[in-house]
Symmetry: C2
DNA sequence: GCGTCCCTACTCGGATACACGATGTCCGAGTTGGGCGGG
DNA sequence: CCCGCCCAACTCGGACATCGTGTATCCGAGTAGGGACGC
């Protein structure tokens, strides 16, 4: 049970994207250089974000990616759902209906107790992720970082959008 | 991000194991037949449970598996940890230290905000699983099942331990 | 008849294949911006 | 000098390989139980 690397990558990226000026974008290559991750694979993850409506893409010279909506309207759950898909981690295959003592379908009106317990736990997980917006994370980062580092980042973005 | 099938299988199995008389066990083949799952692969999962101290194994004729401790001292979290391992789902690779604007190690005394947020969510997930003992689940199943079904199961166990 | 030894059947246990999804890569589609030529 | 067209560079977008983990399987190790043999 592992989350894909794309979750970490895109979380860091979305926390930085608000720094790009309106109307401009950051290319996949630039983002990949910034975090030292393979650009072609990062592109794949950015596609997922675009389809989920989290970022917008602009083609052609000077194009790239930018956030599709205000950062405080993007939660960590949105990211995870976009990258990993909406499928729950626990897959109930209804094995209680199998074998010599299997329940008949008509006796399965109540959901499987085990599946329910896992669903409840996942609800708690998703609720925790949904309650954390990327804005709150970006703010924490900004508060804890040194002023020089923030200037460093702003300068890099400036050079990219040239 | 998917949990292995072993989690579902062993959860159902552990909920049934208390029915076996003290001193006896159920063989992997019997359990595999009961739930219609591949016995050789189920054996692998039972090994993990044994190493985690959840079940005991007895070799030789009439042997098999039985619970190693009272069922109310086994939580769903114990099962998940035994099968999936203790590794968190979110893997922080510290990419904030990468690239042209990467933080230096000495500036990383505070943990990564993103990793912290995911760790918090996983704590909620694990807490929910830890609070559900297999005893409570087995009881719910028993309460909701029909008397015939319970007798059916008891008879099957009786035939297995012969 | 009784005790002991051996043998066999049964079960676990770890080493060994296979498959599918995550990871990583490549080339074509589409768009913008600027350069170049003509007016 | 100004306008418009064309070209080329740049970027996204989806199709194509590769690798690792989950899934599945097999055969050897170990044990208990019973039967046979001897006393």
């Amino acid at each position: 049970m592992q989350l894909g690397k794309g979750v970490e990558w895109t979380a860091h990226i979305c926390a930085m994207l608000p720094l790009v000026p309106p109307g401009r974008g950051l290319s996949v290559d630039a983002l990949a250089d910034y975090f030292e991750v393979p650009s072609a694979y990062l592109a794949k993850q950015m596609q997922l974000l675009r389809r989920a409506g989290i970022v917008q893409s602009v083609r052609g010279k000077g194009g790239g990616y930018r956030l599709a909506r205000p950062i405080d309207e993007i939660s960590l759950l949105d990211l995870v759902t976009a990258i990993e898909g909406p499928t729950p981690a626990f897959r109930c295959t209804e094995i209680r209906q199998n074998g010599p003592c299997g329940l008949k379908r008509k006796d399965c009106r109540r959901p499987c107790e085990i599946a329910s317990a896992f669903a409840e736990a996942e609800r708690a997980y998703r609720a925790a992720l949904a309650s954390r917006s990327l804005a709150s994370i970006a703010q924490e980062v900004a508060v804890n970082a040194s002023p020089e580092h923030l200037l460093d980042i702003a300068g890099w973005v400036q050079r990219q959008v040239g």
